[in-house]
């Protein structure tokens, strides 16, 4: 039986066993490869997406349990129309290998939605589940603060 999901505003009927994690629905079935596989056990954050605006590890959410609208990095912004937070990432030249950055950005976007002016402690608390082996953390921190500033000015 197909399961209906709304991903980045578009409805999809997914014909996969209900225990397949959302991550692998997105990557293999829908073709949204911006969301990455890093560990499969919620230890690295590379697979972070939003469900109804909340940051979740998509490797831990079974297809049958998806409780709301899914937003992936592709839904946040596009190369021609980047979200404010993505533009901050570009301006601070954050990414190195880039593999973890979709998850970093999705997690940071959820943080800013919840806490528009995060302190260093807020950033530490929210972002420590997202691993980056290249060690881009100092620039991630700077980009989050910059994005917070810009979002405040936009509103």
């Amino acid at each position: 039986m197909a399961t209906r999901l709304t991903i980045n505003g578009t409805a999809h009927d997914v014909d996969l066993p209900e225990n397949v994690p959302l991550l692998w629905v997105l990557r293999d079935e829908i073709g949204l490869t911006g969301t990455k596989f890093g560990c499969g056990v919620a230890a690295c954050g590379a697979c972070t997406v939003h469900i109804d605006g909340e940051a979740v590890r998509s490797c831990q959410v079974a297809l049958a349990d998806v409780w709301g609208e899914v937003t992936t990095i592709e839904g946040l912004g596009t190369p021609d129309a980047m979200a404010t937070i993505q533009q901050a990432w570009v301006d601070h030249q954050v990414a190195q290998c880039g593999y973890c950055q979709s998850g970093q950005i999705m997690n940071a976007a959820a943080l800013l939605a919840q806490t528009p002016q995060p302190t260093d402690q807020d950033i530490d608390d929210a972002m420590q589940g997202n691993l980056c082996r290249c060690g881009t953390y100092p620039r991630i921190r700077a980009a989050i603060k910059d994005a917070a500033q810009r979002l405040a000015e936009e509103t």
């Binding site: 996969l16 949204l32 230890a43 030249q93 990414a95 290998c97 880039g98 950055q101 420590q128 082996r133």
Partner: protein, 744 residues
């Protein structure tokens, strides 16, 4: 060069970037013996391998693996600087595997002698020997070589293309080429007429690109500036393609379980797995199995359900036994004694100290587990792989499926982290073999994190014994022995079937080659003959010896009663001015006084690796809830800094990679298998544990140094030395979490 090969290469480019109509340029002189892989079709012209002008813009070939170090951006900037192309007009591709893209630095690194002692003559000799790499088709990314390799090659390619564009425009306009200017992807005539480069693409086929002088660095517009990275927008929008993001019609998804003992598979029972959801095939790979399924996760579930009996390992079965084997090799004959100054056996007056150090096995743990995608169609194989050695991997994939290299197209995608791991051929070859089991069906293979952790080529464990004598506040003798399995021998046997002759210099790099004037100074390398698969891990030998030697230097400074920063400065000043320069600089940046409050510790460390001297000061704090790293100051001298933002990022990245290992990383063995499996038992620094950084880049080094690796070696001892300053406890083993209450 056969016509079939030229067509295949051309197809590669069209497939990668939808380029129609173009002309390619490069350094004709250097590459005249290496076939140009960019072969044009009708109505196009190709003159050489790095610059392609099309009707739609400029495509630059940056034939080195982009694993995060920013190589594609700076290679593009080198060509663009001479080509006068607008930055936003550039498309950058990795390009196909080709002899023309050979690494011209690797082989020169093997010439005896510490690099810091290089004279202009010796440096030129290294460059000449490096060119032999062309004969070996040695296209590889590693050893922090890319900028040294392409500093002139890419600029010549851009300059030659620029002059050819002027010649083509001169013909069209009927004015002398010497009257024409170039700017922002246009040729400009004296009367103000502009012709876009793209408009000249067709006319270029009639032009022989001239040799021209390179521009004075004082006129540079791009080089020496922080350029927007060409991969940045793709990487923040999820559109950058890694090997595991390849999508092809009718694609199936695969994963593997390969022997964790590295000795093979006795038997397997797949009866439980065969009927699981989505499973299409289970492939016997001899030393493991692959599952092909309709979804990667379903493939992983089924792979876990296969019951496999592994052949016992051929190496000592646990960490203690491996350590004992390494210790035993300290008593065997030395493989190398490339540093033997003065006479360490002579009786020297002073205070003598001795210490033994141990560093553990380490995994690379790239964020993207090993992955590759392949399509086998009987007489052709196409592979998508994020890799550091495309020519060798193309050839190995061909051999694995019974084809010739000419029948294989290898697309080098972005790498989700490399650190040396993706110079190995195993993952690409496995994808090719799995695809060959299902001809006509594209197969996207990715390993589980556990498979990635347990099938790595590890940074070896090592033991060092040092004896030192200090007198009147200075070092007068340092006698060291370093034992470990040889990365160079192990990887050469694996990749070429033969161990290289002569002493293994990589084994003692970071120790024997340090710019320290110690009257009696000897470093002996001892090789342990065990078969644990080991490989190149960011900074290789220096990742081991940087910690062990510099920590002992710190112990000698304390025994001498000399400030540790001053002690290193005294050693370096007489030997290598740029090294002394970075030690002085880091002292100034950090306001080094040798004094700290009770709850604060500071440590300094220095290492010269890959041509770049780097000094670091680390500050740690006892917070009462554990010890954290507050700040790290880094001074490095690369001679010429081509992109300050990228080099700064590499210096901090290298240090964070080193801190991660020094604090908590350790691979252990039991029953011949690696015990760690995922980030919960092999973790790294995270947002809340990373310190603040301050980086200063000096440019006094007479020869260009590398950027990707030199930040790693000094980070580990700087942290250990800071912890000693804070606590009075000297950790002679890594990881440091075994000795200190670090906040993780």
């Amino acid at each position: 060069m056969g016509r079939i090969k030229t067509i295949a290469r051309r197809t590669f480019l069209i497939g990668s970037a939808a380029i129609v109509g173009g002309a390619a340029f490069g350094i004709y002189q250097i590459n005249k013996d290496a076939p140009n892989p960019l072969v044009a079709g009708d109505g196009e012209a190709t003159l050489n391998p790095f610059v392609l002008i099309t009707r739609h813009g400029v495509t630059l070939i940056a034939p080195r693996a982009e694993m995060g170090q920013g190589v594609q951006t700076t290679l593009a900037a080198l060509a663009a600087e001479e080509l006068d192309v607008a930055w936003e007009d550039i498309t950058v591709l990795h390009g196909p595997p080709a002899q023309a893209y050979y690494n011209s630095v690797f082989l020169g690194m093997a010439i005896p002698g510490a690099h810091y002692k290089d004279t202009p003559f010796k440096h030129a000799m290294r460059e000449q020997v490096g060119k032999v790499g062309k004969l070996l088709d040695l296209q590889a990314t590693g050893g922090s070589t890319s900028m040294k390799d392409f500093y002139e090659r890419m600029r010549h390619a851009g300059a030659s293309a620029r002059e050819a564009l002027k010649l083509a425009a001169a013909e069209r306009l009927g004015v002398p080429a010497s009257d024409l200017q170039t700017e922002n992807s246009n040729v400009i005539a004296p009367d103000g007429t502009t012709i876009a480069y793209g408009e000249l693409a067709e006319a270029l086929r009639e032009i022989t690109p001239p040799d021209v002088e390179l521009r004075d660095p004082a006129t540079w517009k791009y080089l020496g500036k922080s350029m927007p990275r060409v991969d940045m927008v793709g990487k923040v929008t999820g559109t950058a393609k890694f090997a595991t993001d390849t999508r092809l019609d009718g694609m199936k998804f695969a994963t593997v379980r390969m022997s964790p003992t590295r000795a093979g598979m006795d038997s397997y029972d797949d009866s439980a797995a065969r009927d699981m959801d989505g499973v299409e095939a289970i492939v016997d790979l001899g030393d493991g199995i692959a599952v092909i399924a309709s979804n990667t996760w379903l493939a992983m579930q089924a792979a876990d359900a296969v019951d496999i009996t592994w052949t016992p390992a051929n190496y000592p079965a646990d960490t203690d036994a491996l350590r004992a084997a390494i210790a035993a090799s300290l008593d065997e004959d030395a493989d190398s004694m490339v540093r033997d100054d003065g006479d360490v056996t002579s009786a020297v007056e002073g205070t003598e100290i001795a210490a033994e150090y141990y560093v553990p096995w380490l995994a690379h743990a790239t964020m993207e587990p090993m992955s590759a995608t392949a399509l086998f169609t009987g007489d052709k194989l196409e592979v998508w792989s994020g890799n550091q050695a495309p020519t060798m991997i193309r050839d190995a994939c061909a051999k694995a499926v019974g084809l010739t290299p000419e029948q294989v197209t290898l697309h080098t995608t972005y790498l989700g982290g490399g650190f040396g791991r993706r110079g190995e051929m195993d993952f690409s070859v496995l994808a090719a073999r799995i695809a060959a089991a299902m001809p006509g069906t594209p197969i996207r293979m990715i390993w589980s994190r556990e498979e990635d952790m347990r099938r790595d080529f590890y940074r070896p464990a090592a033991i060092a014994q040092f004896r030192g004598v200090v007198q009147d506040g200075k070092a007068v003798l340092l006698d060291g022995k370093i034992a470990a399995p040889s990365v160079f021998h192990n990887s050469s046997l694996r990749q070429t079937g033969a161990a290289p002759p002569g002493p293994d210099r990589l084994h003692v790099e970071g120790a024997a080659d340090q710019p320290y004037a110690i009257p009696h100074f000897r470093i002996a390398g001892h090789l342990t003959n065990i078969d644990v698969p080991i490989g190149f891990w960011r900074s290789v030998g220096a990742s081991i010896n940087g910690f062990m030697l510099d920590t002992f230097i710190d112990e000698m400074a304390h025994a001498a009663g000399t400030d540790p920063l001053q002690f290193r400065l005294d050693l370096a000043r007489a030997e290598h001015a740029p090294s002394a320069g970075v030690i002085e600089a880091v002292g100034e940046m950090s306001g080094w006084t040798g004094q700290t409050p009770a709850n604060i510790g500071r440590g300094v460390a220095f290492s010269f690796s890959f041509g770049t001297p780097v000094a670091q000061v680390v500050e740690v704090e006892d917070t009462g809830r554990g010890i954290r790293i507050n700040k790290c100051w880094i001074a490095a001298d690369l001679g010429t800094v081509l992109d300050p933002s990228i080099v700064e990022a590499q210096m901090t990245s290298g240090a964070i990679y080193g801190f991660s290992a020094a604090m908590q990383e350790e691979i252990t063995f039991a029953d011949g298998m690696v015990e760690q499996g995922n980030f919960y038992d092999y973790d790294a620094m995270r947002m809340h544990t990373v310190p603040e950084f301050e980086v200063r880049l000096l440019e006094t080094n007479p020869f260009m140094g590398g950027a990707g690796e030199p930040g790693t070696p000094p980070s580990m001892p700087a942290l250990g030395n800071a912890l000693f300053d804070l606590t009075g406890t000297r950790a002679r083993e890594l990881p440091l979490i075994k000795t200190f209450d670090l906040i993780l």
